[in-house]
């Protein structure tokens, strides 16, 4: 209970009191407080338990570097956010927050036994201990560790909030609205151009917010910036710098408001492209490393200062400052002037400037030079400290209730590092500073090292009579890494900071080592007796601070997650009870159950109706490309395996497309509409890929060809009408096309009208039945579909979906690209050498078909499989073996690619790729499954109407 509210001072609005709850207990604060400042004002010094040892932890900092004070904020159902840093949580009335990592309560935590057993948890403990036996890892170690470790609990309810996103462009982006950032924005604004200034805090000002002497200047400057048209965003964190000054920032829009006041998106993702970026992110104070430096009430001096001067809160009634740097003295003096009782200033240095000494004397503050804190008494809060003289270790105890550390400053070079700017070691600063960059980027103020923090020295660990190995001297508070862990890692042979970091986990917590990296480096350097620059430096990665998934998703949530493409007939399918499946980005009707029909029953009915009478199918998702120009036939001839030049206008051909490696990648029917115009179709999923491949060859290999490509996928709605009654169904609707078999044979295309709208009518079949594919401009697709459906009623027409389409084509042995092929199947493998133009000197992939591996014996070939038991439908993807009695691992010679129950045949059928498959005709193979191996005979891929008599009617 050491913290309390000062009578006056700070930027808080004492006229607006706020109440809130922390761990079920009521607290009071003021507008302008953060959760951290209000809790400290309420005497709460214990904020959480540490990750590994469950040690009691308090607030360390008042900025984003805070490693300890992680809380869960509850804004109602679905709006529970764990792992928020208490100093970054703006206080609002009714705020509800909980501490984390404790069971059953913050003060009494069972896991704290880990701390007593601390000697058993050295660096690399997890790596070394929990490796064997393997079964124990899954059953024992992992569940136990998971229960003990981890930070806050992941939310389980759906997040009801929505999130915004935008792009923005400016000539200058300034990151950080402290004095240096404001000055940079001011300079640029005066010369014109768009300037954006962003800052992560609740209000702009940065370090000036903890310095009342600068408040008048701050207010004046912000007014000037507004007048100059500078866009200023607070609560906006630049989380990453990417190529060519592309900066991603997250703006928090509503979390600072009471839930009842929040409207609109919760957060907004800013994707900013800037001509120039100025980094003005300031610097982070470094903790000192000594035994007991993590007891609640041990904080950074800068935090003590901000609490007193910005929030009007004293961290204790008797505050000691432990400094290796002048800034600790200045903070102590400023706090004393604000009414905080400074019991003593301890400095590891033998001497400091006479000004500081005199100022401390004037305020009556006890000063201990050449001394170090070597111990902290108290477990849940600071009760006293032990001081030692650095030379003779003469110790004495000093009662106090807060201890502030001033270990010098680490410039915030995270974004500089993201931009792959180089860093140079500055011995005087004891830190890495920005050096060179290829971006139009510069650092100003504290983060460039250009800031008068005063003098200081860098110490790895404070002098102590106790060896480091016996101290609980923490370097990384969030990951519970002690100085001795780093020393141990070095002793065990780790030399590079990248390895030391991974072995000890120093700097690997959610704070990315904002307060620990440099201390870790110094300790490794000292242990190895090598300069810091020889140890290396870890790389900072985005995001600068942890972010919500919502912010990163932006618009892409729920219905907007990704586009779901629907055909113009989709509405009809939905209204008629279709069950859908997604194919590429498209939603397609899979089958149309009648009443309570199962999928199997529906598909069997749809299949039989199509084979016996007529079925209709929405094939609009097929890719379509209009290939136009005098060289259109030549172009297709070079691209597809088939010959195209002799194809007469009005006729169609099945085209097989290989990649240059000789493997099948797409197929489809193309119709020659005129000498210089083809209507080419592709698979649904291959539409964009095939068009891209065509453009590639056209633009880069054959730019001499006069031919152009236009995607017409969405121009045409396509209705397949298939079955013996197909002609009778469409005949009354079609005008200007002679549908007779003589005038309009299989694999022909005609232009005319259907239902008074223009059509490209293809006589094609993917079912083996008499079939037509009606292409009409998409705007008429629904009308024509309904007209065909109505006209088909007297013929018993059914609408069928993709599942029936799959069964019907499998009965005919027609392949589906990507199902029966997988990018390693050649035309010969698929039994499709008939599709290769034998006289063609070249086509894409031809040369590869002669490569040794593609002509070798024993390649997997597409075959049919008939199970011995006709009722058994094989599992697609199941492996195939010759000898089911062979011990595991068995010799697998192929797998099932397609498998269905065929209603027309009254039994199951399957397609499979099998090594040397065509030579195995009649052989019985086996498909091992959990219930036993299934015997199946190798047969032809054509199961139905092998002679093709049903087509030619």
């Amino acid at each position: 209970m050491s913290g309390y509210r000062l009578d006056k001072g700070g930027r808080i609005d004492r006229a607006v009191p706020l109440s809130f709850r922390f761990d079920g207990q009521d607290f009071r604060g003021f507008a302008g407080d953060t959760l951290a400042s209000a809790l400290v004002a309420g005497g709460q010094m214990l904020f959480g338990r540490s990750f590994k040892y469950r040690r009691p932890r308090g607030l360390l900092a008042t900025g984003v570097e805070e490693p300890n004070a992680l809380v869960t904020v509850d804004r109602g159902p679905g709006r529970v956010t764990p792992n928020l840093r208490a100093p970054s949580v703006a206080l609002h009335d009714g705020l509800i927050a909980q501490s984390q990592n404790r069971y059953p309560s913050l003060k009494t935590d069972f896991g704290a036994i880990n701390d007593r057993l601390g000697a058993l948890f050295p660096a690399g403990f997890y790596n070394k201990t929990f490796m064997w036996p393997r079964s124990a890892w899954e059953k024992l170690y992992e569940p136990a560790i998971r229960k003990m470790a981890g930070l806050g609990e992941s939310p389980k309810e759906r997040d009801p909030d929505h999130y915004g996103a935008t792009y923005a462009h400016c000539e200058l982006l300034v990151i950080g609205a402290g004095p240096a950032g404001i000055a940079a924005a001011m300079d640029a604004a005066a010369t014109g151009g768009r300037v954006i200034l962003i800052d992560e805090q609740e209000e702009p000002g940065g370090g000036a917010l903890a310095d009342p002497a600068q408040w008048a200047w701050l207010a004046e400057s912000l007014a000037k910036l507004a007048a100059l048209g500078v866009t200023v965003f607070s609560r906006t964190t630049a989380i990453g710098h990417y190529h060519q000054n592309f900066v991603v920032a997250v703006e928090r829009l509503t979390d600072h408001l009471a839930p009842s006041q929040a409207a609109g998106p919760r957060e907004k993702l800013w994707r900013i492209r800037a001509g120039e970026v100025v980094l003005a992110q300031g610097a982070i104070e470094r903790p000192l490393v000594f035994d007991g430096n993590d007891v609640p009430g041990v904080m950074l001096a800068s935090a003590g200062r901000a609490l007193a001067l910005r929030f009007g809160v004293a961290v204790g009634r008797a505050v000691v400052v432990m400094a290796s740097h002048d800034s600790g003295w200045r903070d102590a003096l400023a706090m004393a002037e604000a009414g905080v009782t400074i019991a003593a200033i301890v400095d590891v240095r033998p001497a400091v400037s006479s000004d500081l000494q005199a100022a401390a004397d004037a305020l009556g503050i006890a000063v201990y030079l050449n001394h170090s804190v070597t111990g902290v008494k108290g477990r849940l809060e600071v009760k006293a400290i032990t001081l030692c003289h650095n030379d003779d270790y003469l110790a004495h105890t000093l009662p106090c209730d807060a201890l502030l550390m001033a270990g010098g400053w680490t410039p915030t070079v995270h974004l500089w590092s993201h931009a792959r700017g180089t860093l140079k070691w500055d011995a005087a600063f004891g830190a890495y500073l920005p050096d060179t960059t290829v971006e139009n980027l510069r650092a100003v103020g504290g983060c460039s090292g250009n800031w008068n923090y005063g003098d200081g020295i860098v110490v790895a660990t404070l002098p102590s009579p106790k060896p480091v190995s016996k101290q609980k001297a923490f370097v990384d508070f969030q990951n519970d890494v002690k100085a001795r862990d780093i020393a141990l890692a070095v002793q065990e042979g780790f030399r590079s900071i990248e390895h030391i970091k991974r072995y000890t986990t120093n700097g690997m917590a959610t704070d990315q080592g904002k307060t620990s990296n440099l201390n870790g480096l110094q300790i490794a350097s000292e242990t190895l007796s090598k300069p810091v620059t020889a140890i290396g430096l870890t790389t900072f990665r985005p995001p600068y601070t942890p972010q919500t998934f919502g912010a990163l998703m932006g618009h892409h949530k729920d219905a907007l997650f990704q586009p779901l493409r629907k055909t113009v007939i989709d509405d009809w399918a939905a209204a008629n009870g279709a069950v859908f499946e997604n194919v590429a980005q498209w939603r397609r009707a899979r089958y149309f159950p009648q009443g309570r029909e199962s999928m199997d029953a529906a598909v069997a009915r749809e299949c039989l109706a199509t084979r016996e009478r007529v079925g209709m199918f929405d094939a609009s998702t097929l890719g379509k490309i209009e290939v136009v120009g005098p060289d259109a036939a030549e172009f297709l001839n070079r691209l597809y395996t088939n010959p195209w030049k002799a194809l007469e206008p009005g006729r169609c051909r099945y085209g097989l497309l290989l990649n240059e490696q000789g493997f099948i990648i797409d197929d489809g029917v193309a119709g020659r509409m005129a000498a210089d115009r083809f209507h080419v179709t592709t698979t649904t999923g291959g539409a964009a890929r095939v068009l891209g491949m065509m453009e590639d060859y056209l633009q880069t290999e054959w730019p001499d060809l006069n031919v152009w490509l236009t995607s017409t996928t969405e121009q045409w709605a396509v209705i397949a009408v298939q079955g013996p009654k197909a002609r009778e169904v469409i005949a009354p609707l079609v005008e200007g096309i002679d549908l007779s078999p003589e005038a309009f044979p299989h694999m022909a295309v005609r232009e005319g009208a259907i239902c008074d709208v223009p059509t490209r009518l293809f006589r094609v079949s993917f079912t083996g039945e008499l079939g037509f594919e009606v292409n009409v401009p998409a705007e008429h697709g629904r009308m024509v579909w309904e007209a065909i459906h109505a006209a088909g009623q007297e013929h018993g027409i059914v609408a069928y979906g993709t599942e029936t389409m799959h069964v019907l084509r499998a009965e005919k042995g027609f392949i589906i690209i990507g199902q029966d092929t997988d990018g390693t199947v050649t035309p010969d493998d698929a039994g499709m050498n008939w599709a290769i133009g034998k006289k063609k000197p070249d086509f894409v992939g031809k040369r590869s078909l002669a490569r040794a591996d593609l002509v070798r014996e024993g390649r997997k070939q597409l075959v049919g499989l008939l199970t011995r038991d006709p009722a058994v439908v094989l599992e697609e993807g199941a492996q195939i073996v010759v000898d089911p009695a062979e011990p595991v691992p068995m010799t697998m010679i192929g797998h099932v690619t397609s498998s269905y129950h065929s209603a027309a045949l009254g039994r199951s059928i399957a397609l499979a790729v099998v090594a040397g498959g065509r030579a195995r005709m009649g052989q019985t193979l086996h498909v091992p499954m959990p219930g036993g191996a299934i015997a199946a005979e190798v047969v032809s891929t054509v199961f139905y109407d092998a002679e093709g008599s049903r087509l030619d009617v």
Partner: protein, 90 residues
């Protein structure tokens, strides 16, 4: 996200409008049937993976639609230059 100068549009445009097309200046042999297996393998599969200057193809697929060539430093990701398809390597 990179900014890429399209030599056809003559503008710097955002990377999301482009697709990468792999190593540049690998011409399809005029008569593949006369290529030896070894040469054909080189054409199909053998690619450079340089540290530093790299000639590569890009397509302004969501812009002018054109394929073009670029010299990009694979270490810094900086584009040294971009130029139209058919122009000699830079």
């Amino acid at each position: 996200m990179l900014l890429i100068h399209c030599p056809y549009c003559e503008e710097d445009r955002p990377e999301v409008e482009f697709v990468n097309g792999g190593q540049a200046h690998i011409a399809r042999p005029a008569d593949p049937s006369s290529e030896s297996d070894a040469d054909w393998e080189k054409y199909l599969y053998i690619r450079r993976n340089p540290r530093g200057r790299h000639h590569e193809r890009w397509r302004h697929i969501h812009g002018c639609g054109r394929f073009f060539n670029a010299v990009r430093d694979t270490v810094s990701d900086r584009f040294e230059t971009t130029y139209k398809a058919g122009e000699p390597a830079k």
